[in-house]
């Protein structure tokens, strides 16, 4: 029965519930999950506190950047509010030689990769056409074309195979992107070549104003087996579970097991971008339901139950977040305007005589403006 597999997973694409990997419940209770517990056996209290601090800091980066946009300092900002656990849990699972190909909302992943905070804002301030050197942190600059980065990831992973390396390419995209041809093609190639790539889908329930149920009538994770790619659905607001499933997928990829598709079921609690008003298309009750599943709150509760959420800890986390926010703001306001000739930078990796010629012409053209005020009278 061809349909049996699809019917075996209950619930629609947006629902949580059975079939979902969860290690910490929304109430902060650690529940056993035999297949995954061993994968996070090393995560002790201090490590949990570290994950918590990461999530607080990236949430603060997010709110500070949103404020900067409202203050006219950024043209646009895509908030990740609500998706901290999915991004921190997966991002912290990676090795430094793994390579990330993300969409534009994965600022928490970039934080895990050690990006310079100012570089996160560069593009959104209109200051540069891309933010950072991808090879410095092994993360490509954000892809705005929906889903295109999945092809880059598969291609990179095929390169890893050729090199005989054991690094892994990880690509991040959303529920809406799974409707794109690029994502489907990337999965076909990944499966054909058994490439070491992880398709990390953050199902945040909304493709701008389109609810996930319009694009998928079954859980998105169910699509991957059709390509021959094993998949897993994880509670995307559970940072520990996200860490566990990502580690599992990484181990599979490193040992020649090929690609994995992870669907992290989470929720975009903010607008699509600062130019969007979700109240126009989204039920307030839905937001309330998801606020109860907030990734930070549940880890707070869990740490509290372990006696690890005391005042000294929260004060330290707050100080860290404040410092990061201040650094972000100072970096944004202090960003040097690019020079016109910067447009010639980073076009070719090696010197190019034609480009040099064009740059020379352009600079001479620009210099013709310089003394126009003084020469006006004479001409």
């Amino acid at each position: 029965m061809a349909l049996k597999n699809i019917e075996s997973v209950p619930g629609g694409p947006g629902e949580t519930g059975s079939g979902l990997i969860q290690l910490i419940t929304a109430d902060g209770v650690r529940v056993p999950e035999p297949a995954y517990d061993a994968l996070v056996a090393d995560i002790d209290g201090a490590a949990l506190q570290g994950l918590y601090e990461d999530m607080v800091v990236v949430r603060r980066i997010d709110s500070e950047a949103t404020a900067l946009q409202r203050q006219g300092e950024l043209a646009l900002w895509p908030p990740l509010l609500g998706q901290e656990a999915a991004q921190i849990g997966s991002g912290r699972a990676l090795r430094s030689d793994d390579f990330v190909f993300s969409s534009y909302r994965e600022n928490a992943v970039a934080y895990c990769r050690g990006v310079d905070l100012t570089d996160i804002l560069r593009v959104w301030r209109g200051n540069a056409s891309s933010g950072w050197d991808p090879y410095a942190i092994n993360m490509a600059t954000p892809q705005v074309i929906i889903g295109a980065q999945t092809l880059h990831a598969t291609g990179y992973a095929m390169g890893i195979l050729n090199d005989g390396d054991d690094a892994v390419a990880v690509t991040y995209f959303g529920d809406g992107a799974t409707s794109q041809g690029d994502v489907n093609e990337a999965m076909v190639f990944a499966a054909s070549f058994q490439a070491p790539v992880i398709f990390f889908c953050q199902n945040n329930h909304w493709a701008i104003s389109e609810p996930v149920g319009l694009q998928a009538h079954v859980p998105i994770a169910n699509r991957a087996p059709g390509f021959g790619i094993p998949s897993v659905r994880v509670d995307g607001n559970d940072v520990l579970a996200c860490l566990a499933v990502t580690r599992q997928a990484l181990a599979r990829a490193r040992s020649g097991g090929g690609p994995t598709f992870i669907e992290a079921v989470t929720y975009r609690m903010g607008p699509h971008t600062t130019a969007d008003d979700p109240t126009r298309y989204r039920d307030a009750n839905e937001l309330e339901d998801w606020a109860a599943k907030d990734p930070l709150k549940r880890l707070e509760a869990h740490l509290g139950s372990l006696g690890l959420f005391d005042e000294a800890f929260t004060a330290a986390v707050k100080a860290k977040a404040d410092a990061v926010a201040a650094e972000l703001r100072a970096g944004c306001l202090g960003m040097a305007e690019p020079a016109p000739s910067d447009v010639f930078k980073h076009v070719y990796s090696t010197p190019n005589s034609w480009l040099d010629r064009q740059q020379d012409h352009y600079e001479r053209y620009l210099s013709s403006f310089a003394d126009s005020a003084s020469s006006d009278g004479s001409s």
Binding site: Q69, R70, Q71, G72, E73, T274, A275, L333, S368
Partner: protein, 505 residues
């Protein structure tokens, strides 16, 4: 304290926005605010957003009041901050793109279509020396015959643009010079109009003009760049009806100089026998205005449902025979009206009004049922007050009285005002279906088609049945497809099986 005043100008809060409305201030002059403290709610074309304070300091001045629409780049609020040392780097320059004078006027542009080229504030480029040499070499007589080249590379692109096209032939071909001279001496805009180019307007305005019988060629445009606006067309319509009987003289005179494609006879000597012109006034004008207002403000959706109404026709037959209804006029309209009132109770959103001025949706808990009536004077929609309270017999009586008054031209103003929903019976003209336009201020209108004997599926066989099509238009601002569809399906269910009423009341 020796504070520094920092001015915060309204940034572009979305992508390509030009203005925003201040919804409310959360702070007052003299308040101390922290960095990122929410100071105002601002509504853009895209969203209502909270504005976080860019400074820590004291509010020195609020430049605009709530309810004001502020242009991007205009001063919004001034802060007194502790001093240059404690302040973040200048925010004004980044937000407004320069401190000198008023910012250039912004044009809205859609994301993905690129920004408009900024014309102001650019450094001017020094004229190239070889340009003036070239100009002099080609035209020893000076710059007059060739004004374009030197100035195009100089500082006056607007002047250069107009004569640029005739300039080149003028140098090469002397014989055509007189023609070019006369063309060149005309101002740009009349040249365009006479050359037969369509006057600038927008599709809805062209539609309005066509509906009102106004020729756009004769309408002076008052919009930007001579654009003909809705008001211009309405003013022209007013003028046309005021001039009454004066044909196309009077205020629409410019139209008469345009040769009409329909009537090629010279201007002013039109053949009146082939066309009849009636001034737009009275009922026709009122109806036109109401329909235009309705069609252009309420987004209409029309749904159709074809129903086997044989059981309803049988019911009408039985009711007519009963003694209680002796002398009462029972028609399909009576039953449809009753079914509508029952279905409305289950689908109340169809009985509502969009009150734009008050910013409210008015839900009526009563039904003033309008019935579209063709009268000698034109279309009237008198309504039956509190139709939801009426028994079938009372409803039948009210319908009869209403239509009789309408046909006799005795419909009073009270009958015409306060309608909440309407029925139009196009079936009496032998028509099956249509897309009725809402009576202004109402959320729905139901058109009932003719009852036809048609071959229809009945109990697994094909049988001759009485079939009627219902067409329901509704205002999509108020009613979604779901409610509209349920409402229509309820009416259809009653007509297909009047006994279904028992399941609904």
């Amino acid at each position: 304290m020796a504070g520094v005043i920092k001015e915060f100008r309204l940034p572009d809060l979305g992508e390509g926005l030009t203005e925003s409305e201040i919804v409310s201030w959360h702070v007052a002059v003299g308040d101390t605010v922290e960095l990122n403290q929410i100071i105002a709610d601002v509504e853009t074309a895209k969203a209502v957003v909270e504005l976080p304070s860019p400074y820590a300091g004291v509010i020195a001045e609020l430049h605009e009041q709530p309810g004001t629409v502020v242009e991007v780049g205009a001063p919004l609020v001034s802060f007194e901050v502790a001093g240059p040392a404690g302040a973040p780097p200048s925010i004004g320059s980044a937000a407004s793109g320069g401190d000198t004078g008023a910012p250039a006027k912004r044009e809205p542009n859609l994301v993905g279509y690129g920004a408009a080229v900024e014309k102001g504030g650019r450094p001017e480029r020094r004229a190239r020396r070889f340009a003036s040499q070239l100009s002099g070499g080609l035209n020893p007589a000076g710059g007059s015959a060739l004004p374009g080249l030197a100035e195009r590379v100089g500082s006056a692109p607007m002047i250069a643009a107009v004569p640029a096209v005739p300039a080149r032939p003028a140098v090469e071909a002397v014989p055509v010079a007189p023609v070019l001279e006369s063309a060149g001496s005309l101002p740009a805009s009349p040249v365009r109009t006479i050359s037969g180019e369509r006057p600038r307007s927008t599709p809805p305005v062209r539609k309005l003009a066509r509906d009102l019988g106004i020729r756009l060629e004769g309408v002076p445009g008052t919009g930007p760049g001579g654009l003909i606006t809705r008001d211009d067309v309405l003013a022209a319509a007013q003028g046309a009806s005021a001039s009454d009987g004066a044909g196309n003289g009077g205020s629409v005179a410019p139209a008469s100089v345009i040769p009409s494609p329909v009537n090629p006879s010279p201007a002013g000597a039109q053949d009146t026998a082939r066309e009849t012109r009636t001034p737009i006034k009275g009922m026709r004008k009122h109806t036109a205005a109401a329909m235009v207002a309705s069609a252009f403000t309420a987004p209409h959706v029309t749904e159709f449902l074809t129903v086997d109404v044989t059981p309803t026709m049988e019911l009408i037959g039985r009711v007519k025979e009963s003694k209680a209804f002796a002398g009462v006029r029972i028609t399909p309209l009576t039953i449809v009206a009753k079914a509508l009132c029952i279905a409305l109770r289950r689908n109340p959103t169809l009985n509502s009004r969009w009150d734009e001025a008050a910013g409210d949706i008015v839900q009526f808990n009563y039904v003033n049922l309008g019935i579209a009536a063709a009268t000698p004077r034109g279309l009237l929609v008198p309504n039956i007050k509190d139709a939801q309270e009426l028994s079938l017999m009372d409803l039948a009586g009210a319908l009869t009285g209403l239509t009789e008054r309408a046909r006799a031209g005795k419909t009073g103003p009270a009958d015409l005002s306060g309608g909440t929903i309407s029925i139009t019976n196009i079936g009496v003209f032998g028509i099956d279906a249509g897309t009725p336009i809402l009576n202004p201020g109402e959320a729905a209108i139901l058109a009932m088609g003719a009852v036809r004997r048609m071959p229809w599926e009945y109990e697994g066989q094909i049988a001759l049945r009485s079939v009627m099509t219902l067409s329901l238009s509704f205002d999509h601002r108020l009613v979604d497809g779901e409610q509209g569809s349920r409402f229509l399906a309820d009416i259809g269910a009653i007509l297909a099986d009047p006994g279904m009423v028992l399941t609904m009341v």
